[in-house]
Amino acid sequence: MTAPMHDTPTDTAKAVPGEAAGGSGATKVEGRSLKQIAWNRLKQDKVALAGGIVVVLLVVVSVFAPVIVGLLGHPPNVGDLDTLEDLTNLPKGVLGGISGDHLFGVEPNTGRDVFSRIVYGARISMLVAVLAALVAVVLGTLFGIVAGYFGGWVDAVISRAMDVLLSFPQLLFIIALVSVLPDDLFGLSGSGVRIVTLIMVIGLFGWPYIGRIVRGQTLSLREREYVEAARSLGGGRRHILFRELLPNLVAPITVYTTLMIPTNILTEAALSFLGVGVRPPTASWGGMLRDALQVYEHDPMFMVFPGLAIFVTVLAFNLFGDGLRDALDPKGTR
């Protein structure tokens, strides 16, 4: 796609297709790849861009959590009982103890800094959601492409498996799975093992969503001429699946991965809320809401920040994902 510098006439970018068709020869239409078209569309979608910026910010916050918290000097798992009232164990001051020192206030009963815990909670949320989405994408793409390409009984078995998984009461099965898995697994122990378990289990139940889409796309793509051409040129199965078909599936896979992450964030929060997610004292947004459920009658501020954190994150991913879908959709008019 790179045009040699010397024959680029001035101002080709502004060339109008009509003029080029006029045959003057002085101007020519600039070829644009799908990526460029999508990027141009995405740039014009302000809402999606805003979502994207929030997502990038969240990633930065998660990666640099220790630095950010270090600046303010309140470790997430260390409480300061001086910030609490003696009798009630509720935060001193108004609005859950919000002050210049404790930006989001302090936790009732423990006196831990809410801001630090929200920042560290972002880490857990992103880690679990993104890695679980990756697990789902790998499994979903593999099974989807195989089902779509081979058809027959392979397709029948995989499709039925996807149907069953999709109609399962997922949350309940995830709870059941997490509750029987041992406390030490994969050579890990403590809260690390829970995080790995969560990633595997959420990913395991998430792949059919991707699988269905990939299967459907593969079904239509495998009839295309270029696949026929590859086959007649002696391309093997693996070559056709992963070199010919897979690159054409990248767009839908990207979109649905982006849209899957917010769902995973909600699932992780739900599991931590129910007490089968990340183990305390590791900070997680769902876990904070679980604690808040006990005290919100007396200290309503404590539930606001984790709740808002989940809401903003999920909304940002949804907006960005929707925008990405519109931008990558060849039928889109924008």
Binding site: S179, P182, A292
Partner: protein, 333 residues
């Protein structure tokens, strides 16, 4: 019709067998693979060696897996005797084992908790379908209006909001601050309908809100597509009045894809119900499941999982039957 019903019931039974197989695998095989002792899992970590041996005997944990699976499946319709010789505990059908926490048959607990969950999920489903479809239709008819845009923004917000957060806000405002509603934490089937409705109204709305928003978006998109079809123009040309065109002609075809999605969302509904019950402290299946996890009460988790899966399979059957009511092209049989 009858043949169709039988075939569909067959499919439900197959689905249930898959669910039973999966739950059996999760609770009896998976722990073994990861090097755990199932007897310890079932009895708790502080049990003595003798007690564990007793449990192994009683539950037949030393039998081959296939035998164990068969006993497990057979116990559901026929009931089951645990142990042998003098120490026999009979577990009446439908036998789902005994809770280790309360030592009651699992089915007894499930039976008490089921009405709460069914009422919660059912009421919310009705509310979300009616609410979502109504908002969606109005949005489609007044496309681009303030109402339309407001509904769509709410929809995006709705799907991004965790149920337990909205639930806490709703409870904080309406129960604790305003005191308009008082909720009964110990609902039983003996309570009056008034008590049920008062307790359920907030959970219904909270659970329905998220999904109603999604359905509004879906209904709007489908409705707009349908309204562009030729047969709608034909109906109008024949002089059919607009309300009839909307209700009889457009809404009917709009409902078919909505129902398809609804069938798929039943799992989400149950997941949402679990979270809603925990948030509002309602004595339903979700609450039992959470209590069971905290007490490592495996038979209970197993029983709850199975019953929920059955409820979903049956609800799916109902959804399939509704297709035929809505879409005359779908012939059953």
């Amino acid at each position: 019709m009858l043949a169709y019903l039988i075939r569909r019931l067959g499919a439900v039974i197959v689905m249930l067998l898959v669910v039973i197989l999966t739950t059996f695998f999760i609770f009896y095989v998976l722990p073994k693979w990861s090097g755990q002792d199932i007897a310890v899992l079932f009895a708790g970590k502080n049990s003595g060696a003798e007690q564990l041996e007793g449990i192994r005997q009683k539950l037949g944990l030393s039998d081959p897996l296939l035998v164990q699976f068969w006993e497990f499946v057979k116990g559901i319709p026929l009931g089951r005797d645990y142990g042998s010789g003098d120490d026999v505990t009979h577990c009446g059908a439908p036998c789902l084992g005994y809770s280790f926490r309360t030592e009651l048959p699992v089915w007894e607990t499930v039976k008490d908790a089921l009405p709460v969950t069914l009422a919660l999920a059912g009421g919310a489903a009705v509310l979300w379908l009616i609410g979502g479809v109504t908002v969606g239709v109005v949005s489609a008819l007044k496309r681009g209006s303030f109402w339309d845009r407001g509904a769509m923004i709410t929809a995006l917000g709705g799907v991004s909001m965790p149920i337990f957060f909205t639930g806490m806000i709703a409870m904080g405002v309406f129960v604790h601050s305003l005191g308009w509603i008082s909720m009964d934490d110990s609902l039983t089937t003996k309570d009056s309908i008034g008590t049920w409705v008062e307790t359920m109204i907030l959970p219904w709305i909270v659970l329905a809100f998220l999904q109603a928003a999604m359905y509004a978006r879906l209904t709007r998109a489908t409705m707009l597509e349908v309204l562009g079809e030729d047969y709608i123009r034909t109906a109008r040309a024949k002089g059919v009045t607009e309300p009839v065109v909307i209700r009889r002609h457009a809404l009917r075809s709009t409902m078919t894809p909505i129902l398809t999605v609804f069938g798929l969302d039943l799992g989400i509904l149950i997941g949402g119900a679990i979270l809603t019950e925990t948030t509002f402290n309602l004595p339903g299946l979700g609450q039992e499941a959470v209590k069971a996890i905290q007490g490592k009460d495996l038979p209970m988790i197993l029983g709850v999982t199975l019953c929920t899966a059955l409820a979903i399979a049956l609800a799916n059957l109902v959804v399939d039957l509704m297709y035929a009511v809505i879409d005359p092209r779908v012939r059953l049989g």
